[in-house]
Point group: C2
Chain length 165, copies 2
DNA sequence: CGCTTCTTTCAGAAATGTGTGAAGTTAAGG
DNA sequence: CCTTAACTTCACACATTTCTGAAAGAAGCG
């Protein structure tokens, strides 16, 4: 008749459960729902890449929703868009080795915080308790920026080593 | 007439601008609006602590909103509640030296991720690309957990040194 | 022990966010 | 060129979240 129904169904359901749980985690961390679901689906896919239609069907959402979510994901560098040559069909791919960086979105993120804090320090001045308190925060973010840089380097080294061994 | 209008007004307006900018930053990082505004207001206050009424007036929100937001902030250890002895008035205080930890809310956060990822690895198995991909993610979070621990220690040392010198 | 002051709870209103359907745009293939 | 398959945009509807006002609940003070 049709394909091995139960197996495929079970597998699909199991995948879906994981995808939704993963997505929920991302949502909790601040990502909006649709991007989260799509990212989770991509990471759980065999090739690490899916087409718009596949995502639309698997997640049971409209192409419009996929479009919007993917735009966001591409913008924050969690996903890259590929064109299969000869077709207008696009595939969206998780950046296997880059998404760790993106997830910690250090660059813009930490800079923005530092800017805000610097303004606060200027406004209140270091001769006020508030000013000193905000200055501490500024220093914390400076510290974080430096440390996260070297942290990611260590991670890269760690990974390279694993692959090598 | 009344108090030095322009000075107080300007100062208040300037503080408000900073508070709202800071809050916006926190919102972007995933915190909801009211807790974010309250936290920012506390950090910008001279004593690092304000009463419910003060918050309510400064932020132009109802006592109910303050109550709910403060409950959340206390739960995630960003704020502590104090009672002024003899009054039912409560003051809410930012935890000057603890909120860095809280902001990175490492403990529960990283554990939850690891649990989710572990389930994914089990589900797909290390003989599938997805399984390996998710396992990489799991390792990344293990790595992060370890590193963030020592990072915060270094920060504590850094701070202690500043205060000492 | 009741009055008063402050905080909390709760139902509902207002604001915001999120996803859909339909129309619009772009580019491959005839 | 025209057709057609894909992706995107936009207005709107639905869902969720967030804040308020009112009422109830605690706790000092007379």
């Amino acid at each position: 008749m049709d394909e091995r129904r139960t197996d495929d169904g079970d597998e699909a359901a199991a995948v879906s459960r994981f995808v939704e749980r993963f997505a929920a985690q991302l949502v909790q961390a601040g990502m909006s729902r649709m991007p989260a679901r799509i990212f989770a689906a991509l990471l759980s896919s065999e090739q690490g890449a899916l087409t718009s239609v596949e995502l639309s069907e698997q997640l049971k959402v409209s192409p419009a929703a996929v479009s919007g979510a993917v735009r966001y994901l591409a913008q924050v560098n969690l996903v890259s868009r590929e064109r299969e040559p000869g077709s207008r069909r696009e595939r969206y791919r998780v950046q296997d080795d880059q998404w760790y960086d993106a997830l910690l979105e250090r660059d813009a993120f930490l800079r923005n915080w530092q800017t805000t804090m610097r303004e606060g320090v200027e406004q209140f001045g270091l001769d006020t308790p508030q000013g000193r308190r905000i200055n501490d925060t500024l220093e914390f973010f400076r510290f974080l920026e430096k440390e996260l840089g070297s942290l990611m380097q260590r991670w890269a080294a760690h990974r390279a080593e694993q692959l090598g061994g």
